[in-house]
Amino acid sequence: MPAWLSADLAIQASYFVTAALFIIGLKRMSSPVSARSGILWAGAGMAVATLVTFLYPGMSNYGLMLPAMFVGGGLAWWSGKRVAVTNMPQMIALYNGMGGGAAAAIAAVELYRGGTQGYTTSTLAVAGGIIGAVSFSGSAIAFGKLQGLITRSIRFSGQQILNLLVLAAALVLGGLVASHANASPAVVTGFFVLALLLGLTMTLPIGGADMPVVISLYNALTGLAVAFEGFVLNNAAMIIAGTVVGSAGTLLTQLMAKAMNRSLGNVLFSGFGDTGAAATGEVTGSLKPIEAADVGVMMAFAQKVIIVPGYGMAVAQAQHKIWELAQLLIDRGVNVRFAIHPVAGRMPGHMNVLLAEAGVPYDLISDLDEINAEFETADVALIIGANDVVNPVARTDKSSPIYGMPILNADKAKNVIVIKRGKGAGFSGIENALFYLDNTRMLYGDAQKAGAELIQAIKAV
């Protein structure tokens, strides 16, 4: 091996290439046309970086490292391949939490070892440690909530004060460690225990409806933690990749919170999200049921039908039936469009992924801004398991908790058909005025069954 070709040069050059591949990959993932190749570019970068890291000078413990990689990677591979598309949001939360936990583990090893020289390094190790640990335990709670393992949101008075106390205590211990005043193993342990506890107490009171924003936030936080630990280890690839994810994730979190017309502080600290506020407002009128056969005729002879899917469609796994239904209508010459609210489902774009799984081409799917003017010319708006995102009180009722949230103007369509399992209020607990309008009819049943009935009805026309 020539003298200039040292292991160090190979490592630095490979990390440089990896950083470039990650950025190219993310760039390609931000357009539907090139998205599929984006993950391949990023994946190539990860493979290069992982392989070259084995060349690191002075490394030991390969006997522990390789089994740990195979167990962690193998379990993730197995679960990632098996998970249903509906459950992907919580798997993202889980994998993200693992990344946060890994960043915290790096901080822990460095701090226990006393390997951080200088105040900058120790401060960044502590900062990355607390952020990573919060992301780890918080994401675990987010996973539990979306998976249905944790069904209640635990709230009590003084909760915010408790959170503040835990945060303050963690910061005090972190400060002791970072300033080298007392970096004994006991203090380091106490710091990490408090950081993990903070993730739990922060996330437990947040309702399921807000989990998309929370997962996105923890994704950004993990990126930041990885970047900080990159500073500690003097690893440019970690700094760049972590920072890119940190800033991109922050922007994504803002976009999502904006789509719900909530500030991030409101999501994290208001405790709204699955019980809703008491002020639901009185709704006048009655719910008018309709039979599937009548809806079938109505849609078969319509010129334009706009389908609005929501979480109910995901729960019932009805996306394939709905696409079959849409294809029947398209074959009859009906103009069929899918209207997606940014926060429909449990993650932004969640509905798009489900529809894509069923085979709906993305050019039939429209965002809120593109489609909202078109409801006025639509003969039928078919609402499938969506609720708050089509509730017109968001435009009219100042006392409503969702007032001001941008909604799909489904109420402007000539006929509104709502497929819904029962008469209960939506995820937020707010009564939906759309269901009581004169031009609205309710088709009761789960989305899968109702979809099948509608297909029969249209075929019979």
Binding site: I92, L233, A237, M347
Partner: protein, 102 residues
């Protein structure tokens, strides 16, 4: 790498992340979140270095957990993102694919 160079890298990378995402359509929000989740799986190389330099049983145990978690982040993030993006096809591409199979 000196502190100030690291700070420059941090700033430029932050702007890069913001710009790369700035014009992303809503339909790609979930895959992109999943993709960026995969990218911070680079924490695996840090976990490997941390475990590689660990000496006491405590350090080794935590380092081992770190590598295990990081590998899960990287592999799981890749698999889920890849599965999601595999589904994205335009009607043109679908028609072409259908023609090929018939």
């Amino acid at each position: 790498m000196t502190g100030i160079v690291a700070l420059y890298i941090f700033m430029l990378a932050a702007f890069t992340g913001y710009e790369v995402i700035a014009r992303v359509p809503v339909i790609l929000h979930t895959p992109l979140m999943s993709g960026s989740n995969f990218v911070h799986g680079i924490v695996l190389v840090g976990a490997m270095v941390a475990l590689g330099g660990a000496h006491t049983p405590l350090e080794k145990t935590i380092g081992c957990i770190g590598v295990l978690l990081a590998a899960g982040n990287a592999v799981g993030g890749y698999v889920v993102t890849e599965r999601m993006l595999e589904m994205f096809k335009s009607s043109g591409a679908r028609a072409a694919a259908a023609k090929r199979t018939h």
